[in-house]
């Protein structure tokens, strides 16, 4: 199951797009990392694929990280999004969290922290998905049960002569 996990990293800094995916590959074997150098490029990729987590820088030319976050929340409300902010940009962090970011990572990025946060996010997403799957299955079961109950009620409540077996 881990082999199919995928992460999208969005930043306008080419060097970061080299370093961070490499860190993810080294620390989190089996996670596929894709990159986008702008928010618009990221939206194209998001449209094409459902990622298990998205990491985006907050300061980018053109559409910035907060705007991208809002887009993700409408297009893929379940995908956890992590925001990279500069050191001490607390106001932006608050904005991002209010905007629906699941976590924030401050620059300079602490790799252990980053990996842990990303792992948590992916895990939460996976668990969420599992919960949803289970809930859906449960709902199915409940429906099924409901139907069975209905059938039984009908059998029991109906005059014996009229009902089926």
């Amino acid at each position: 199951m881990m082999a199919r996990l995928s992460v999208l990293i969005v930043d306008d800094d080419a060097a970061l797009l080299q370093a961070l995916p490499q860190a993810v590959r080294l620390r989190m074997g089996g996670v596929t990392v894709e990159t986008a150098d702008s928010a618009t490029a990221a939206l194209d990729r998001i449209a094409a694929r459902d990622y298990d987590a998205i990491v985006t820088d907050i300061k980018m030319p053109g559409m910035d990280g907060l705007a991208l976050l809002a887009e993700i929340r409408t297009r893929r409300p379940d995908t956890p999004t992590l925001i990279i902010t500069g050191h001490g940009e607390n106001e932006l962090v608050v904005h991002a969290l209010r905007g629906g970011a699941c976590d924030f990572i401050q620059k300079p990025i602490d790799r252990d922290y980053f990996v842990a946060a990303l792992y948590r996010a992916i895990r939460a997403h996976v668990l969420n998905r599992r919960v949803k799957d289970r809930q859906a299955a449960l709902a199915c079961c409940a429906d099924e049960l409901e139907r069975i109950v209905d059938g039984l009620e009908r059998e029991l409540g109906a005059p014996p002569g009229k009902g089926g077996p």
Binding site: D13, A15, L16, Q18, A19, L20, Q22, A23, L26, R27, K59, M60, P61, G62, G86, H87, K107, P108, I109, D110, R111
Partner: protein
């Protein structure tokens, strides 16, 4: 004659006694008379000659008298002329005396004036020295102001620069961390580790560049003058401001033509000019529908002409004259020092150039800078 008379009496005396003798004596007497007559006639003729001569002399004398009269008339005329001349000479002499007196007074007055002049010159020298001292003080103050302005600019730049430094530092951390991971995992080949470290080195270079640029800009260096390329100056200013402009989505276009614009000046000061203009433009366009800064340049009449235009809110009418005043700012308290454009103005003026602004309401502001081109020669400027 007397002798003759005496002879005659003797003859008479002797002839009294003899007629023949008397006759002889008479004859003699007649002869004598005849001789006398002859002599008298000769004398008369001589007298006539003499008379003629006299007459001639007389005539000549008359001529001479007439000539003398002429000469006298001439003399009289000359004398009168001389008298006139003497009189005129006398007048002239008197006039000359007046003139001499006047001239003496003039000389006195001149002397007084000269003395006054010397005093004035002394005062002037003192004043000039005072003015020079003031000018030197002013130059010192201007330099201090430029330095203060630079530091203010640096302060304003700090946020952007912190962001810019944070990026390479962050990347260095990541690359080095990756290398450490690769070593610890002991699975990777050496080349992969080296690649990570190389990337880290590149980022170190980037950070160093930013810091050294800031140090150069902030240094209170002696104001040296050398041929510098305006293109390089503008590029350096943009390298310091670029991140801030990029993050605010401000589009910057630079078109300096094909000709290299070389001026004699101070690279750091001129860089400050463009940083100040970029800072102003940045703040002016941030709320505008279109955010753009256009820097264009060319050569006109021996000067480099730089046009610096933005699409911001423009300068409110009536403030065009004031924006170059020190401490004049339209920004909120704490946002601007009001020194930027006044320092810009001072720097451009010190470089022998001019800066002016045109602004149509709502159409942004355009700064026009003229800087005298360096005399053509070997184009060497520090890169």
């Amino acid at each position: 004659m007397t002798a003759t008379v005496t002879e005659d009496r003797q003859l008479v005396v002797t002839d009294a006694g003899a007629p023949t003798t008397a006759e002889r004596r008479l004859r003699v007497h007649v002869e004598t008379l005849e001789r006398r007559l002859q002599k008298g006639d000769e004398q008369r003729r001589a007298m006539l000659h003499i008379m003629g001569d006299l007459n001639e002399s007389n005539q000549r004398l008359a001529h001479q008298r007439k000539a003398m009269l002429h000469i006298l008339a001439d003399y009289e005329r000359d004398r009168r002329r001389l008298a006139n001349q003497t009189e005129r000479l006398d007048h002239a002499r008197r006039a000359l005396l007046h003139i001499l007196q006047d001239s003496h007074q003039d000389k006195l007055r001149l002397e007084a004036s000269r003395k006054a002049m010397i005093h004035i010159m002394g005062d002037l020298r003192e004043t000039t020295a005072a003015v020079e001292r003031r000018e030197q003080e002013l130059r010192d103050k201007q330099e201090q102001l430029v330095q203060a302005g630079k530091l203010a600019t640096l302060g304003e730049l700090t946020t952007g620069v912190a962001h810019e430094l944070n990026n390479p530092l962050n990347n260095i951390g990541l690359f080095v961390g990756n290398a450490v991971d690769l070593i610890e995992l002991a699975v990777a080949e050496k080349g992969q580790i080296v690649r990570e470290l190389r990337h880290a080195m590149q980022q170190v270079g980037k950070a160093t560049e930013i810091i050294s640029h800031l140090r150069t800009f902030g240094r209170a260096a002696p104001v040296s003058r050398e041929p510098i390329s305006l293109r390089q100056v503008i590029e350096r200013a943009l390298s310091l401001m670029g991140e801030q402009l990029r993050l605010r989505q401000i589009e910057v276009t630079v078109d300096l033509g094909t000709q290299e614009l070389v001026v004699i000046g101070n690279a750091i000061q001129l860089e400050q000019v463009f940083i100040n203009l970029l800072t102003n433009a940045r703040d002016a366009v941030v709320d505008a529908p279109r955010r753009a800064i256009c820097i264009s340049g060319g050569v006109g009449a021996g000067a480099a002409v730089i046009t610096f235009a933005d699409t911001g809110t423009g300068i409110p009418p009536g403030l065009e004259q004031r924006i170059f005043d020190p401490f004049f700012t339209t920004k909120e308290v704490g946002k601007g020092t009001g020194l930027g454009l006044s320092i810009t103005y001072g720097i451009i003026k010190e470089h022998g150039g001019t800066i002016s602004v045109v602004s149509a309401p709502g159409a942004g502001a355009t700064f026009l800078i003229d800087l005298p081109l360096a005399p053509a020669g070997p184009k060497e400027f520090p890169s």
